[in-house]
Amino acid sequence: MAFAGIAGGDRMTLLTAENVQAGYGDRAVLRGVSLQLHVGEVVGLIGPNGAGKTTLIRVLLSQLSSTGKISWEGRSITAWSRKDLARRVAYLPQAPSSPALQRVEDVLRTGRAPYWGAFGLESARDLQVVLAIAERLHLSSLLKRPMLELSGGQRQRVFVGRCLVQEPVALLLDEPNTFLDIRHQVELNQLIRQLAAEQKIAVLAASHDLNLASMSADRLILLNEGVVVRDGTPDEVLEPQALSTVYGVTIERIERAPGEPPIVIPRYTALGR
């Protein structure tokens, strides 16, 4: 499928969302969100609990109905079949499910489900892609191992792998760092950056860790109460005043070497010390 992107500024626009509103029953969660995602760019989605990060991701995956305009690759989200969208956009949840005794190959092969025919029939290409991705993520020697025997970091790589075998142009992640220690957080974020650069995959990752998000993202989007409060480079978005208002704690900003994103931390003296 050839993709003729829409030139948006200097980069090709993959996703456009305009004035998106969505919610659950009577409760409005998104109150007019507009954003864009470009080819090969890594975007961090930050904001406090309840800001609408997960809801936004579900809406962008077409799992939740919404009003407003969303289009992937210039085509309205309502015009995409679920299967076609799954071949373009992959999703990594906070805690992906895998039956404990399932093998790595089972998990990876499931990522090709959007390409299967009736009776779950696979093409030769389905397996080629799985093997290539396994090679790329250093999982080749683990293919026959049950998920249960893997370390937390390996397991996370398998789930990233399941997304990649979908051969997506965009990857949406919902708090991928939650259950990882610092080393694995860094490894995962490096991997995602590499993938974005190598394969021109656009990444939108919801995160609670502002510093990790700013270090791995080209751009940050700050969401609060269902609207985009700020959208720009980490340097622009991590503005102490705005963050303090949004998160409800006093936040301090520490500058680093030029070219490196700043560090933001809550001011601990505010906790009564």
Binding site: P93, A113, L127, L148
Partner: protein, 350 residues
């Protein structure tokens, strides 16, 4: 680089050839077991029938083995589908009320047959009553558990438990008001799960058609079952229409269950244990699991039926032991052992 990986890892592509080979393997397993079961006679003899009525007896035995296999196959495939869609390893084909509904309506049919000369009732037959009971019961569960056309596994299981309990108590109520139904022998045995030898060819062919058609339809969606085992959001992001699969899968599996329950009554544990057995040998891929579990179900029930035929003659009973009693008697402890073993193996590797 990829060639090197292929050397250490022989990937098996699930293509039409592998699908057919798997179905062939399943068939061969079943044919071997079924052939052994034919050797077990209802007189307690093991081996070819030795008397003049050889052909008749052999025919009679093979019919029994075929019916047992048919019922077991239906329960096996339905068990796999229920467990995958409800994402619950303890789910069995009776969870949504098929068996209790079948029992309830067929005891109602039995009771209303007394002192009634209604030809309509008689023509309807116990099996049809059971089939309608199973369908109505599952329909009630699906209707009560769905909201705006959406079904969630947890709600479904809870409503299923409730409807099963209500059906069960109505069954006992009718039974205590009409204790004379026990005297019905075979017809009563049906209610607690026993294969019948008095089925008409039409009933047998109907059930066989349901199981075969259902089996093909379920194989068609077997790949989707792999995806359905994930969380809903993950499954949807892999292109699966989760709600549509839940409906189609559960409706087809329930039809298969209803059709076999209507010729066998509620035979316990086959639908629950079979998928686990098949998984132990063949892993988690539902595309492979489905045909294998179907064969395993057929084998298990054919074996249990042969055992009950053998036991009934060798031990205390003159009358035949209902096979449902036997499957529950063996199936229960067997399932416990399975649970213990899987718990141990998880504890070791964790």
């Amino acid at each position: 680089m990829i060639e090197a990986a292929q050397k250490t890892y022989r990937a098996k592509q699930w293509n039409i050839r592998r699908l057919l080979l798997t179905v062939l393997l399943a068939t061969v397993i079943w044919v071997i077991v079924a052939a052994l079961c034919v050797l077990v006679g209802s007189t307690g003899a093991i081996g070819w029938p030795g008397d003049r009525a050889f052909a008749t007896r052999l025919w009679f035995r093979s019919e029994r083995v075929l019916i047992a296999s048919l019922v077991g196959a239906g329960l096996g495939m339905a068990g796999v589908v229920y467990q995958a869609i409800l994402r619950n390893p303890l789910a069995d084909p009776y969870l949504l009320g098929a068996s209790s509904g079948a029992s309830l309506l067929s005891i109602a049919w039995l009771v209303s047959m007394f002192g009634s000369s209604s030809t309509i009732l008689f023509a309807l037959g116990q099996q049809t009553a059971a089939f309608i009971g199973a369908i109505l019961s599952v329909a009630a569960v699906l209707f009560a558990a769905s909201s705006r056309g959406r079904i969630e596994p947890v709600t479904l299981i809870l409503v299923g438990v409730i409807v099963n309990a209500v059906n069960g108590s109505f069954f006992l109520l009718i039974y205590s008001l009409h204790p004379e139904v026990v005297a019905q022998g075979g017809a009563f045995t049906f209610l607690i799960g026993g294969l019948q030898s008095s089925l008409s060819a039409r009933q047998e062919w109907l059930a066989a058609a349901c199981v075969l058609g259902g089996g093909i339809a379920l194989m068609r969606i077997s790949g989707l079952l792999n995806v359905a085992m994930l969380q809903t959001a993950e499954a949807e992001s892999l292109g699966l229409n989760v709600q549509r699969l839940r409906w189609t899968g559960l409706v087809i599996a329930s039809l298969v269950t209803a059709s076999v329950v209507s010729i066998s009554g509620p035979i316990g544990f086959i639908g629950l244990v079979t998928p686990h057995l098949a998984r132990m040998v063949f892993g988690y891929d539902q595309r492979r699991l489905l045909p294998i579990a179907t064969a395993f179900g057929a084998c298990l029930l054919a074996l249990a039926d042969a055992a009950s035929r053998f036991l009934s003659q060798q031990t205390l009973m003159q009358t035949e032991l209902p096979v449902g009693v036997l499957t529950s008697l063996i199936g229960g402890p067997f399932f416990l052992v399975l649970l213990w073993r899987s718990r141990e193996s998880q504890a070791e590797t964790a």
